[in-house]
Symmetry: C2
Subunit: 305 residues, 2 copies
């Protein structure tokens, strides 16, 4: 990736993030929807604290760009993108809890249980997760019921016990029973990979793409999900705390094996380059329309924060 295209991509990412942030703010305000009784101000404030955290909004970006490949309805894609970000943010809130990673800071800000309290953080995570399914299933999300149901199912499966939550459970075990290489790969495919895979697959579902296209996008998502994790592990070894805005070297300190700690940084860089080529190849059928998604794959592999 040239420096120019890096800058262009980051600008596009930031623009999308602004749109997602606005939509999140709208969906997480204190106004009630039909069927709701009241949205307690304190809970909603905690949910917003956890969700409006200045993240890069990479997963929503992938939903929006994948959807664009199939000329999907933009409003529908934005809804699904926002719902996915709610799920991602819920997982961070629960991950940061004292009983889990016990983190005080997230992107330089106090984590939800620090800014509020532990009970409120648990409920704020529960609220974001539940609300994500509300957003997708809502009949004001301009999609046929068939696609809304398919998206709920795909998201629930990516986030559930056979996906992200299962990955978090494996991660808890990993500190006690060091997994072998296959175990690490599986853990990461679940903990971080499943939602990134869903992000890319979702675009195809929203756009009513063929099963073949849906599978192709899901495979692209798996490749960049793996790249994302490798890049993260590489950064954990090499970056300093200032660049990352969070504590680094934590995996090593926690005695967690990663593929990078097993095989070294050079191996990781060569793997990353292979994954980017594979991801780009998967997008060949879409030609120029896939430029932004290809740039996303490169960005994920090359990012330094």
């Amino acid at each position: 990736m040239t420096n120019d295209s890096h800058i262009l991509f980051e600008t596009a990412l930031r623009m999308r993030a602004d749109t997602v942030e606005t939509e999140l703010r709208l969906l997480l305000d204190d106004r009630i929807l039909p069927g709701e009784i009241v949205r307690p101000a304190h809970l909603m404030a905690a949910m917003r604290h956890g969700a409006l955290n200045g993240g890069k909004r990479l997963r929503p970006f992938l939903v929006l760009e994948s959807a664009a490949l199939f000329d999907a309805d933009g409003d529908a894609a934005l809804r699904v993108a926002t719902a996915l970000e709610c799920v991602h943010c819920y997982s961070l809130i629960h991950d940061d809890l004292p009983a889990m990673d016990d983190d005080d800071l997230r992107r330089g800000q106090p984590t939800v249980h620090k800014a509020f309290d532990e009970a409120t953080a648990i409920l704020a995570g529960d609220g974001l997760l539940t609300h994500a399914f509300d957003i997708i299933a809502d009949e004001t999300t301009p999609l046929p019921a068939e696609r809304r149901a398919a998206l709920v199912l795909a998201l629930a499966r990516a986030a559930g016990p056979g996906g992200m939550v299962g990955g978090q459970a494996l991660d808890l075990d990993a500190e006690r029973n060091k997994p072998e290489e296959a175990g690490i790969i599986r853990l990461q495919a679940m903990k971080t990979g499943a939602l990134i895979r869903f992000a890319c697959e979702a675009g195809a579902i929203i756009g009513g793409a063929s099963t073949a296209d849906r599978e192709r996008l899901a495979e692209f998502g798996s490749a960049i999900g793996l790249a994302f994790q490798l890049a993260d592990d590489l950064l954990d070894l090499t970056a300093d705390a200032e660049t990352m805005g969070k504590a680094t070297g934590k995996d090593a300190a926690a005695g967690k094996a990663t593929l990078v700690s097993l095989h070294g940084a050079d191996w990781a860089r060569s793997q990353l380059s292979g994954l980017v080529s594979q991801a780009h190849a998967l997008l060949e059928p879409y030609g120029e329309r896939a430029i932004m998604l290809k740039a996303a794959a490169s960005f994920i592999a090359e990012r330094n924060s």
Copy 2:
């Protein structure tokens, strides 16, 4: 309610509970579904511990009986009933956590964080909540996508920040800022009422009932939800720990005001009788078909455990 009909109802409730238990066991086993990677054994065991707890399965019962009013598909109703029970059980697991109610026992068994650990309990709750939406949205649940999406939406709204989770947040506040009567009613309508209302409304959705029927069942659900909470508060004041299988007098000890503590036991009994009459009246249009639901309303108001 005569003693005979009480016994008949309890037998029916227990039979339904067995069916729900079997379905829960099936849906929460270690076999993976398409799209899942692996279901970590430890996490699934914790989810089962929290879900297969010998509960009365009152909410599933209400789904099944409401659905029967409209000749709904029995398999579909059982799926939705089981999904709702997953949501109920997730809320108990998170409610029992040290940061929340800090309970060691639930139905005489160690709570999930006691039997496993706190992190696993948080994830088990998250897993049950997520899996509930999977069960409903799954295309093997024999319902048109339109109804699956409507059920996901209604459940997410009943369980979300404007429903159950919001009620739990209000409950946390209630220990600090004692709410007035209107505040207590709202808190209870959210914390326990919303899911019971959903249980009854769900039957109408599953059966493809008219909007008027759907609203009537929802209203029935609200009436018995309120009755459920009043009966619970009454029991908290009067029952001994042995009958309840959990600590009693906890509300008073926690300084929590309830409608019963405000107005007394006699007032509560008269309210309960009024709510049962109201609930029965709402079911008049369904004649003899509604006998089981009417018995449920009486049972809820008169239960002593």
